[in-house]
Symmetry: C2
Subunit: 258 residues, 2 copies
DNA sequence: GCGTCGGCTTCCGTTGAGTGGAAGGGTGGG
DNA sequence: CCCACCCTTCCACTCAACGGAAGCCGACGC
């Protein structure tokens, strides 16, 4: 390979992937110099590798010279099991729920100690929420998060409860004991709720989505307040969740929740 | 580099990308040998490169030893402008439309001579359609396709009309003269319709989405039949389309329709 | 239970793809 | 007009990458 390299042993593939990895939610458009910095590469090296990524369609160069993630990565991302399995199969159920409630509807999975939002439906009438597809939010402060945490392995629960529970609003549950009791109730009632714990003006209800007894996702909705609609909402969510679980069982190839 | 190579001059990056490019809609799970074949690489070479892609999260190995597109590509795909620009900004409008009609709602852009479905909303009550997010369908047989074709550059229209127009149902418009006249009417009426031209039992209406006078996408819905609801549907679609166009104009960084 | 086959994994001598500092061009701002 | 920064190109040097061969492993047929 090269006579001199700033990072001996690094492969070409890892460098190219480092360039792709330079993009994130807060860095969607990057100049060449920014890319090089974020990927820890010299500018000429970044320049060569970026040109190849652009040729293939992994990156795209905008008119202002900056780079963005290319259409081909979007296409490829749609082939990932989280999309073709869980998200796609669940979509009609989520739309049924949305059509019936016009509330924000969430489908989420656990991603280590966080909640990953796999899908989110919302119109203009829905409660504004901070989540969007691909977001990772704290697991202790959302309805779907509490469901996923309640059904997580003991070591995951220990790590979440043993860490500092971030206070996001005055109503966030930050005492481990309180959260533990809530999780026990989630297991008993088979649904979770939040009341302005993630953001003010947003309350939520969520239920587990099971495939063959295993909780693989959580389905939830967000409303300004729960009130006396709670039993009806829980019932609607559970019907949709069972439908999703059944559909997932009928499509074994789509190992959706991993 | 290596003392011997089956494809001299091919870069490491291009080989790694060839492996990613081995996946498509009909090849979502591939064995190592299949990956090597489809990427035109020797198996040991594929083995090494695939291991790196797995390490980074671009690919994932399932329990049965086969590979799928990894979560990190899904994450990255969500950063592409087609997602963060057009799709995300349009989503609330699409959900409003869905909530009002419970019909299948489509958002699409032109991708060369085809329609690319950027978003699709459907519940169980909606008409089953063949499209899904990321699908490319023929531009002459769908409502959104006719809108995009009517507003396409002359050379694009010439290439579509000069090629054989595939007959998908008995009602598909396959005569270039007929399609030309329909496109003229689309420009005049500012909406397009289809009647069981793409699949039986599915009729559609679609309107252009404009950002600063430029047609950047098409918005459509699919129903079992149009009937006397057509004017109301067109009006609802146009309101949503104008809302999307306005929102796109307010977010210049998201060059969504490219 | 054994043998065969196919897929996968590991090895390693050879070599050319890849390296990045230097230099130069272009653009925007002061 | 000058300066600073970003981007692009060059090229001597070298080590990362190459893939056939060999071996391992699991499934399948007899």
């Amino acid at each position: 390979m090269a006579g001199r390299t700033s990072s001996p042993g690094a492969s070409v593939t890892s460098r190219a992937l480092a360039l792709l990895g330079a993009f994130d939610e807060t860095h969607r458009r990057l100049s060449l110099t920014e890319l090089a910095e974020r990927a820890a590469l010299p500018v000429p090296t970044a320049h060569r590798l970026v040109a190849e990524l652009v040729d293939w369609g992994a990156l795209s160069r905008a008119d202002d010279g900056r780079y963005v993630v290319g259409r081909r990565v979007w296409d490829l991302g749609l082939l990932a099991p989280v999309q073709t399995g869980l998200r796609q199969l669940a979509s009609p159920y989520l739309h049924d729920l949305y059509g019936a409630t016009l509330a924000t509807v969430h489908l989420a999975v656990r991603d280590e100690l966080e909640v990953l939002y796999v899908d989110r439906l919302a119109g203009h009438a829905s409660v504004p929420v901070v989540s969007q597809v691909g977001s990772r939010l704290p697991i202790h402060a959302t309805g779907v998060g509490k469901v996923l945490l309640a059904h997580a392995p003991q070591d995951v629960q220990a790590r979440v409860l043993g860490a500092r529970l971030a206070r996001l609003t005055a109503y966030t549950v930050t005492q481990p004991g309180s959260l533990r009791r809530q999780l026990a109730r989630v297991l008993r009632d088979d649904y979770a709720t939040t009341t302005e714990e993630m953001s003010l003006g947003a309350c939520s209800v969520a239920v587990p989505v099971r495939r063959d007894q295993e909780v693989v996702a959580a389905l939830g909705i967000v409303l300004p307040r729960l009130g006396k609609d709670r039993p009806r909402l829980v019932a609607a969510l559970q019907v949709a969740a069972r439908g999703i679980g059944r559909t997932l069982s009928e499509h074994p190839a789509g190992d959706a929740a991993r």
